[in-house]
Amino acid sequence: MMEITEGSHAVAEAVRLCRPQVISAYPITPQTHIVEALAEMVANCQLDAEYITVENEFSALSACIGASAAGSRTYSATTSQGLALMFEVCFNAAGMRLPIVMSIANRALGAPLSIWNDQQDSISLRDSGWLQFYAEDNQEATDLHFLAYRVAEDHSILLPAFVCFDGFILSHTYEPIDMISQEDVDRFLPKFSPYERLDAADPISFGMYATPEYYHEFRYEMDRVLKQSKAIIQKTGKEFSRMFGRDYSAMVEGYRLEDAETAIVALGSICGTTKDAIDEMREEDKKVGLLKIRVFRPFPTEDVAKALAHVKNVAVLDKNISLGAKGALALEIKDALYSSGIPVKDYIIGLGGRDVRKKDIKAIVALVEKDQGDIFYGLRREVL
């Protein structure tokens, strides 16, 4: 059913339809509306779940670890400093192979304090073993929750997943959403079947200690499984598109890319603005296209190499910066295209909520065509 909904509320509704049994979260801007809505659903008996209130995000995700290990479908949501506080717990959840799903309403990290959007928070946890999905709009943010649970809970994967959508830009924006019915969600997402669970009658510990003889192999296994999840993501995305019409069968998505000479690569809501800018540039006969990255972990290296094999220039938009190096997405794209010789330039954009408009995308295309890049785009030099 089509309805006009705020992004956060659409995500909360999608989570309700996934029937989580335990939710534990701590409110933080701009994620608050999601967990407020879920708390209300639990209080109103619209969702049969245990809602555990806690004193901070470390405890929130720790409670999810316990609940997931005990055999519950588990959910949390956070952003920015909240996610930073979960750093240790994120590595534990992944290492214990617990399929927790967590929404990230992407926000900048302090200091300096900023409540506005960029993607530094989830990007900074790229090495934690969580799957990372990025949504372009609220419809995708909604749908990716169904997909994330299916993939994470697959017994050949068993890894937790972030569903990332840009704070404020998506979380606080009203858009029309085609919400899947409970009946259909139940057909797509079966009841949670834990691989192993805590049971007093048959005690077991999770995430025990591994000596140097074993730890190396545990990390290898997580890497192997994360790479293996690419096939499961594509298969599950295909099934979703068969059932509901929206196609998530590919981890990357091209827009007017087939005959493009310059390709823009981006993550998240900026892809929407970029598509509009591309439409206008196409009117002026500029051969520009977009490669949208929907899944950042596992990284679809082969898909990127294939999709960009024919272009002359690549401009990567990064709403993050690995300080002292480059944007995290650019590093991946440069790796994927290393042997092709295609020049790749990085543009750090929109940090801490700086607006990025169509004119900025066009300016970046002009820069990459002149071979100028690997820069912070739009620096206000007068304040430096």
């Binding site: 290492g95 214990m96 192979r97 617990l98 068993l158 691989y195 192993e196 005690p203 077991i204 510990s205 999770f206 995430g207 025990m208 200690y209 591994a210 000596t211 074993y214 192999e217 545990f218 296994e221």
Partner: protein, 86 residues
């Protein structure tokens, strides 16, 4: 031993983990000086010092990490830490 998913384990797993391999210095107990006061058994963080059948106390070198607390605490100075060549 094959890896368990998520490093999960059933109870008793610490017995499989032979921490004795960590040892650099080995506690050597002097039977003559031992009064069986039990301080070493109480204070051993690994809990690996036990009474033996010969009415003496001795560490289980399979698990003794060689921390030296027993030697430090023994009131009769009956435990020496000896560099162990492996």
């Amino acid at each position: 031993m094959a890896l368990a998913v998520g490093c999960r384990a059933r109870p008793g797993k610490s017995r499989d983990n032979k921490t004795g391999s960590w040892r650099v210095f080995k506690p050597v107990f002097d039977r003559e000086k031992c009064t069986k006061c039990g301080l070493c058994m109480t204070l051993c963080p690994e809990g690996c010092i036990h009474e033996t059948e010969e009415e003496f106390v001795a560490p289980d070198y399979t698990y003794c990490k060689g921390c030296g607390i027993c030697a430090e605490e023994c009131p009769g100075e009956g435990i020496k830490m000896i560099l162990e060549e492996k």
